[in-house]
């Protein structure tokens, strides 16, 4: 049974308010998000909305002139890799949040078009939001879920990862919320195995093996006729993950490369145990840090990063969209 929070709205209390909005279809989306936005606009709060381009257009129309006071970003770009989303919010609150001026946002990282692998990582992201922004001053983030198109297990997970739910009945605490909820992207849940015909290259020990890894990646890119932009990204990311295996993952590893429905997949397995923090790679390192940049860079280069680790070893699987990126040169 839900308990009811104060009716004053999401920022009435202090701290980070993370709420899931359940809606059904585009019209309900607008009907239920616009009051949230107008409330913030009336209070003079900075607002960022990160949803798909269609919803951005709908909200702009609904808000009229007030839309000019709202920042919009396309989640299909910002959150192509869900691991990039937290930093986007962090920059927004760093720029706008003040003790006397809360901020609010709407972010929809999960939609029906996400594949199963992306969905798990999106759900992990939702859990990590609670960790990332615990202890921040008042800001409210509404995460819309289209219950008309999303499977029930996805909606059920949203109840566990969001302390507050917003439905047609109003706003209330989620009794299913688990503050110490393990991420759905649990490190110990194995990934589907790679295809048997994947390019497979053992490497290590010794850091000189990194050249072997890069040569193998280049050779694969040439055979697969990948564009220069994608080849660069793959080369950089594979090198960083392989370096981590050599340095921290037991000193040896296996590189695998294959294609999957227009996506290039690169996987590195090593015998080590992943010891990174849950937030690792989701925020850029500060200039005085001597470490912590590799996974951040990998998250910027890949459209999805999956990390799984058990006592038997660690697997890092990188996905690169087949959509050509213009060569940065």
């Amino acid at each position: 049974m839900k308990s009811t929070l104060a009716q004053k709205g999401p920022t009435a209390g202090r701290g980070f308010q993370h709420e899931a909005l359940f809606y059904a279809g585009p019209r309900e989306f607008v009907e239920r998000t616009v009051p949230f936005l107008r409330e913030g606009l009336d209070a003079g709060e900075p607002i960022l909305v990160v949803v798909d381009s269609g919803k951005i257009t709908a909200l702009r129309t609904a808000l009229g002139e007030q839309a000019d006071r709202v920042q919009f970003a396309d989640m299909s770009e910002v959150g192509r890799n869900p691991a990039r989303i937290i930093y986007h919010w962090q920059r927004f609150i760093d720029d706008h949040l003040g003790e006397d001026r809360p901020v609010r946002g709407i972010g929809e990282p999960i939609w029906a078009g996400r594949n199963a692998a992306e969905l798990v990582e999106c759900q992990a992201h939702e859990t990590l939001l609670n960790l990332a922004f615990a202890g921040t001053p008042a800001w409210s983030l509404m995460c819309p879920y289209d219950v008309a198109t999303l499977p029930p297990p996805v909606v059920a997970e949203a109840r566990r990862s969001h302390p507050v739910l917003v439905t047609g009945a109003g706003r209330g605490a989620s009794v299913e919320y688990l503050s110490s909820h393990p991420s759905p992207a649990r490190l110990d849940v194995p990934l589907p195995p790679p295809p048997t015909d994947a390019t497979t290259v053992p490497f290590g020990p010794g850091l000189a093996a990194l050249r072997t890894v890069r040569q193998a990646v280049l050779h694969h890119c040439q055979r697969a006729r990948l564009g220069p932009g994608l080849a660069e990204d793959l080369l950089l990311a594979a090198n960083e993950i392989a370096a981590n295996s050599l340095q921290h993952g037991g000193g040896t590893g296996t590189l695998r490369l294959w294609a999957d429905a227009g996506t290039v997949v690169c996987q590195v397995d090593d015998p080590g145990r992943w010891r990174g923090s849950p937030m690792q790679g989701r925020l850029p390192a500060s200039p005085d840090q001597d470490h912590g940049r590799g996974l951040w860079l990998v998250n910027q280069l890949c459209h999805l990063v999956q990390i799984r680790s058990t006592p038997a070893g660690t697997t890092v699987r990188l996905h690169f969209s087949g959509v050509p990126r213009p060569h940065s040169g």
């Binding site: 850091l207 990194l210 050249r211 660069e232 090198n239 850029p284 200039p287 860079l297």
Partner: protein, 276 residues
């Protein structure tokens, strides 16, 4: 040029041929070697032979400025004598007489590269693998634009002076930087930057730089916060990594600029003086 010498037997005949080839360029030949080896060198009086640790340093520790002053003096004398400049075969075993530490050598060779460019000299530094540790020989290969022979450990990159002319100053870079050689890369950059407000790096030949290499640049920026670093004509990959790592916001003193009027070709063995 760095000559990795594995065989003493073949070294001397090749060295003689190298010096003899200087006649075609009007260069005055010099052979630097340990004092004990000077009398038995297979050369005639047309080749000036000396041990700088004795003739210049007088047995004192390595003083790069003194050595380079000697090169400048000898170049001036050579030109007065009608030569175009110096052609030097340096058997780097002479360094043992200078009590030079491995850490001194990298800085010495970096500065020597600038002097060579300034004097338009031809200098081959021969490092014997039986005399120097493999890692040291590898480092010496890194700070020469061209290497002849196989260093025991391939450093993976090269750095060379483009001269100190304000119109085309700085250093050329080629190769790849990763976790294996990032520490050396950092030391080399530190040596190249020492005492200067600006480090200009023509990085068009540096085709791959991992995060470890970028971290080396960051450490340099932290230890020398007043230093301005300019990457000229860097690879798109390096520039992209730098931006994705948000370093363009965090370290504005590190800049990227396109190639200017001075287009400098990457040295290759084909353009180096021949060593048989």
């Amino acid at each position: 040029m760095c000559w990795v010498v594995e065989s003493t037997t073949s070294f001397e005949p090749a060295a003689v041929d190298f010096l003899a080839a200087g006649a075609d360029h009007g260069e005055k030949p010099f052979w630097l070697a340990p004092e004990s080896a000077l009398p038995s060198l297979p050369i005639d009086r047309s080749v000036t032979r000396t041990d700088p640790s004795v003739s210049v340093l007088g047995g004192e520790p390595l003083d790069s400025d003194a050595i380079f002053a000697m090169f400048r003096r000898e170049t001036a004398v050579a030109r007065q004598q009608g030569y175009s400049g110096m052609r030097v075969l340096a058997d780097m075993d002479w360094l043992f007489g200078s009590l030079a530490q491995p850490s001194d050598l990298t800085r010495f060779e970096l500065l020597l590269d600038e002097v060579v460019a300034e004097l338009e000299a031809t200098i081959v530094c021969a490092y014997r693998t039986i005399s120097f540790p493999g890692a040291t020989v590898g480092e010496m290969a890194a700070v020469h634009p061209v290497t002849v022979g196989e260093p025991p450990s391939e450093p993976g990159f090269r750095i060379w002076s483009l001269g100190t002319d304000p119109a085309a100053p700085g250093w050329g870079l080629s190769g790849e930087i990763d976790l294996l050689n990032a520490e050396l890369f950092g030391r080399v950059l530190t040596g190249a930057a020492e005492g200067r407000p600006l480090l200009r790096l023509h990085a068009g030949g540096l085709w791959f730089v991992a995060v470890a290499g970028i971290n080396a640049v960051l450490r340099l920026a932290h230890t020398q916060p007043q230093l301005r670093v300019v990457f000229v004509d860097s690879s798109p990959m390096l520039r992209r990594s730098w931006t994705l790592l948000e370093l363009h916001r965090q370290l504005p003193q590190v800049e990227f600029s396109p190639l200017g009027a001075s287009d400098v070709a990457t040295p290759t063995a084909a353009t180096a003086p021949e060593v048989a």
